[in-house]
Symmetry: C2
């Protein structure tokens, strides 16, 4: 099926808004097994809009047109398609009534300019907008269906999900949404993952996609055709085995998401002691409602003084081993667990850069410790020489992955791939 997209609006063309609608539409189509062939982005000039419509007509089966359905004078989509086709606009009484009622419910009079939003090209089929004043419509021209949706992301998504995609399934036999399994990984590049999985035979109808979204590479396993459950499960098992510890979550948003769920389920409590991450670990958990149940305390001990005064890290330890050391991490985690009276405590101390590195401990060297009822486990990893915010983000993710692994009964220290372990220490309680 040949599907194109036309995105309209100066703010999208000029980059004032990054076009997330276009990315969302393409991804949604992919979940139905369809790829966009082309996307044209134009501003609010009548000639450019007419030109874009004209050159797509007769080429594509469906052209999804997004934006330009608002009430103001720079919203030209309806007028432009009418002009391209050489038809007039006519008032859609049903939509005018819906809009009038919508304003009445909000206790506001409808402005005269909104009437424009009920003017559709002759021959168009209205598409209901349950959450806004811009209705959509579809119209057939030279064998191509042009489908118009508003630019407000929430409205676009509702209308696509509830009306446009079901219509495409009926009209063009678009496949139903494919089962999708998401696997989050860290510590491996996209090309390395592709290499690891390269010779894995995929059953017919199954596709594997990659998406980089810092700090993760996400693998998407999609069924374009029905696959027997047994085959699917076996495949997943093979992938898990090949990826190994680099796999940090399945069908979850993020590692903090997984840790939030596990801590909530297991009714265990956590404290954080952060140096180079500076509060990022705690903040990623506080992002979830209900985190107050388990996050009983957190310390940002970026200075040596704070490590000593607040967490009781021995001054001599800092002097002898340095602030970025297994020993300092152990002291921080043990101190935090004891002071907060929690079941668990995680600590992070590292060199985020750009300065502060040495031959022995280059930028990207980070020490972690997890204190739990059985003792303290610490490791020092080299996350690689990266930008400061990347080192910090990776460090926060590894720290929470240690908590996740502990809660799942897995060994706390994992082999992620590129992250080299340069030290480890376990202390029994």
């Amino acid at each position: 099926m040949h599907i194109e997209m036309i995105c309209t609006g100066e703010e999208v063309l000029s980059g004032q808004i990054v076009d997330t609608n276009a990315a969302w539409v393409a991804q949604r189509l992919l979940e139905h097994g369809e790829e966009l062939r082309r996307r044209v982005t134009v501003g609010d000039r009548m000639a450019d809009l007419v030109g874009a419509f004209t050159s797509a007509a007769g080429q594509a089966s469906v052209v999804l047109v997004n934006g330009g359905l608002g009430p103001t004078s720079d919203d030209l989509s309806s007028e432009a398609i009418a002009q391209a086709m050489g038809v007039g606009l006519e008032l859609h009484q049903g939509w005018l009534a819906t809009m009038t009622e919508m304003f009445a419910r909000r206790g506001r009079p409808m402005a005269a300019i909104n009437r424009k939003q009920a003017m559709l090209p002759v021959g168009a089929v209205m598409i209901d907008n349950p959450v806004g004043t811009a209705c959509g419509f579809r119209i057939l021209w030279r064998g191509t269906w042009f489908v118009f949706t508003p630019g407000v992301p929430l409205e676009l998504k509702r209308m696509m999900e509830e009306q446009v995609l079901p219509w495409m399934c009926d009209e063009f036999g678009l496949a139903p949404k494919m089962p999708l399994h998401r696997l989050l990984t860290i510590g491996q590049g996209e090309s390395q993952l592709a290499h690891i999985l390269d010779d894995l035979p995929l059953p017919a109808g199954v596709e594997l996609g990659y998406r980089a979204s810092l700090p993760y590479i996400e693998l998407k396993l999609m069924q374009r055709r029905d696959v027997a459950l047994q085959v699917w499960e076996t495949l997943l098992e093979q992938i898990r085995e090949r990826i190994g510890d680099a796999l940090v979550g399945e069908n979850v948003l993020s590692v903090p998401d997984a840790v939030h769920r596990l801590l909530s389920e297991q009714s265990l409590t956590l404290a954080t002691a952060e140096s180079c991450t500076g509060g990022m670990v705690a903040s990623q958990l506080v992002d979830f409602p209900g985190s107050s149940c388990y996050l009983l305390g957190g310390w940002i001990t970026y200075s040596n003084r704070a490590k000593q005064a607040e967490l009781g890290v021995d001054e001599r330890v800092l002097a002898q081993y340095g602030a970025v050391s297994l020993e300092a991490a152990v002291g921080m985690a043990a101190g935090a667990k004891q002071k907060a009276g929690t079941d668990l405590a995680i600590s992070i101390t590292g060199i985020a850069g750009p300065d502060g590195g040495s031959p022995d401990k280059p930028v990207g060297t980070v020490a972690f410790a997890l204190a739990h009822s059985g003792g303290v486990e610490a490791q020092m990893l080299r996350l690689g020489s990266r930008q400061r915010n990347q080192v910090r983000l990776l460090a926060a993710t590894v720290a929470l992955d240690m908590v996740r692994r502990h809660l799942l009964g897995l060994p706390v220290m994992a082999e992620y791939g590129y992250f080299e372990r340069v030290g480890a220490k376990s202390i029994k309680a």
Copy 2:
């Protein structure tokens, strides 16, 4: 000047990557006073690429083509333009030598497939890539210059800045980069800001743009033509006056950026005490290298127990006024300042939602306190009923803005616009 852009790559078309290159290019052109007319995004199919080149040839003065210059088989840009024009590819000896040397410096042999990156269409002018193996090139076809750049953002930006834009200035009289003044605001919607500035007369050649980038609305004031310094300064002064306290920074990245600079310059130290922001304030500062000089300590006291145990907030205060109160905020800031021994301490405690709100203190109610040498100043604001992460982000921004205002000698409590103040308290030291 008629400029178009063609973006290539399945990952861009399919939305796996949101196309930030396109947005960056459009914004950079705007700074020279030029607007993109059209952007076409195609995948890695030869026919679609040839089609896109062919339909732009003879229409635009310049077509900026991004992506598809890598070494692998799905990198087709050079081959596609050659095929469209009906010319061959020839080896560019100079670029082959540069690449060979590049690999030698890294101590790696050059793979055979990289040779492809030195094959340019006959008649092309090479564009140097100082940071990668994909050189760019430009070629004239039917009166249109097609300019090819690689998709790696860092490489695209270097090559545009250093070679493509200067060439466009020479060849097409592209105006030099216009003076640009950025004003960061919080607490006002885009339409409200537009309303406030609506009747402000702009001198000829001056343009005002808006860009929403949570938690800010950024105003961009651009000179498309030379404007007398006096006129420019007067205009800026008028804008500052109209926006008032909602203006939280000029020509800075963010409020944390401004606070980082001010604390570093003034050699003052800071501690943080965070409840609902959960470490976000500290983390935003630790993002800047050198923040260890002033951020001497931070506490995440999301639980009442931590507020008492770590910061010495009186149990009776929490029982009587609640954890989200001016009194609790004062206790947190005073405790943090005293324990960390810093010049300043900032505290945040609020209801981020979605639960926990009450008629008296709805979701979005946040109390802040700044402790300094002169005493403690506290306020409670209603940031509005928003999503949890938005409340948290706005709260972190307001907290740091209180620090910023104090460091600039401004009153700590500001009138941001939509944020309603429901309580305030000042305690002299």
